[in-house]
């Protein structure tokens, strides 16, 4: 069973941070006192209620303690059964969403130190994304610079939705730093909740938040293309985590159609958006919003037109599939190895430096 994925590079693992109190050893005296005196602990993101069935697969929920809360659980639930070669840790934590950018920066810093000490130091198969205070590009770049010399940090982690559309020039220092250090920027299904997640106001149910997030990803991606981020930073890669792929064809078709008519407005977009997408965007394979008939997945991928697109991921501990069936049914055999390893190695230059 595990032979199917042996050696795989799992691009989306979510270690659970217990809360701000667990970060006290990694905070300076000032922030330790601030956090303690306010009793600030839980900063869970609203899209991921810890007790919701979606947030933790049933057989991955331990009898006691926090799901995805320690390395033993990761080894027992993922690294061993899937035969994982490399696993990338993408912490989901609300620190970047704080309005107080200095506190956000302190907590992001502490979170990255916690990941390094509690996880990376203990298992050499592990890598991680750098959590950054997205509301302050200046402080975000400081954190990237601080962490970049540690080659186990392989990407920059950003909230999928924050204060501004990502392509805006105010955010460019983050992309400049990421490109310079050979790190992709990864967007998570997580929001700073500055705005309603739909253009028509606030939804009622968790299912709406999750389904609508495909639109959020499209808004961000279109902003990055239209503002010229990929023209200005040609080596930058964007990784969409938990984005699914069902929306991609219509996005490419509509984007290309309108670009043909309106490209004079954005002449730095010197290729059609579909070509830019294929060169710069990668998507993790779980959850897959594939057609009901697995036989149709090949057709969908054919339409998208990129063998480089998909990155293997279990999305641990989120409940996406059963057993070790993390590869979507119907994935063409010729893509299996690309999805399991090659695409990730091409996307994350730092993984090649110490490939196990």
């Amino acid at each position: 069973m595990s032979a199917d994925t042996r050696g795989a590079i799992d691009c989306d693992l979510h270690p659970a941070l217990p809360g701000c109190m667990a970060l006290l050893p990694y905070l300076d005296q000032h922030w330790r006192e601030e956090i303690t005196s306010r009793g600030l602990d839980n900063l869970d993101l609203s899209l991921w209620p810890p007790e919701a069935p979606l947030s933790v697969r049933q057989d991955w929920r331990p009898a006691t303690g926090l799901a995805a809360g320690n390395l033993d659980l990761l080894r027992e639930q993922v690294l061993e059964p899937f035969g994982t070669g490399i696993g990338i840790l993408n912490t989901l934590f609300g620190a970047p969403a704080l309005h107080n950018i200095d506190m956000a920066a302190a907590l992001c810093r502490a979170t990255n130190d916690w990941v390094a000490r509690e996880w990376l130091d203990k298992d050499d198969r592990l890598r991680a994304g750098i959590l950054v205070p997205v509301e302050s590009p200046e402080l975000a770049v400081q954190e990237i610079e601080r962490r970049a010399p540690d080659r186990r940090f392989v990407q920059v982690l950003m909230l999928g939705a924050a204060e501004t559309l990502l392509g805006r020039r105010a955010n460019w220092p983050i992309f400049e730093a990421a490109e310079r250090h050979g790190m992709p920027v990864a967007l998570q299904v997580a929001s700073a909740t500055r705005y309603a997640p739909t253009a028509n106001g606030w939804p009622t149910y968790l299912i709406e938040d999750h389904v609508n997030f495909a639109q959020t990803f499209q808004s961000q991606l279109l902003s990055l293309i239209a503002e010229g981020v990929f023209s200005r930073f040609p080596r930058l890669r964007l990784v969409l985590l938990n984005a699914g792929i069902g929306w991609v064809p219509s996005f490419l078709w509509r984007g290309t159609k309108e670009w043909r008519a309106l490209r004079r407005e954005v002449p730095w977009v010197d290729r059609d958006p579909a070509a830019i997408f294929r060169d710069h965007v990668r998507i993790s394979v779980q959850p897959i919003d594939a057609p009901p008939d697995p036989a149709d997945l090949a057709a969908l991928l054919e339409i998208i037109g990129s063998d480089d697109l998909l990155l293997f991921a279990t999305d641990w501990p989120h409940w996406r599939f059963e057993g070790t069936e993390a590869l979507p049914p119907g994935l063409p055999e010729r893509l299996r190895h690309r999805v399991l390893r090659e695409n990730a190695l091409a996307t994350y230059p730092r993984l090649k430096e110490s490939e196990p």
Binding site: R169, E227, G228, R260, A261, R264, P267, W268, D270, D272
Partner: protein
């Protein structure tokens, strides 16, 4: 012949303009003034010299026609010919022979 390959608009009604390009976001360069025609319906741009579209030059193109300025008589003789008769002048009289 006067049709945009997209949806058939009369291309001759389009604006004759130049090419807008950019080396980096926020910077604009206007070149090749008068060499680009924009379809009046959806703004697709075509290179007047080659017929190639800007958006997909290898697949979307219009038929180019060679154009030159030349005197009419060098291109074609008209079909209408007036009757001519020999004329000469003799001692202040114009003599027409019929």
């Amino acid at each position: 012949m006067n049709r945009c390959p997209h949806q058939g608009a009369g291309l001759c009604e389009g604006e004759i303009t130049g090419l807008v390009t950019s080396d980096r976001p926020g910077e604009f360069t206007l070149s090749r003034a008068g060499e680009i025609i924009r379809c009046p319906w959806h703004g697709w741009e075509f290179d007047i010299r080659t017929g190639q579209s800007w958006c997909d030059p290898s697949r979307i193109r219009i038929r180019p026609y060679p154009v030159a300025v030349a005197p009419g008589a060098s291109l074609v003789q008209g079909p209408y010919v007036a009757e001519t008769v020999p004329v000469r002048v003799e001692e202040d009289y114009v003599v027409i022979e019929t």
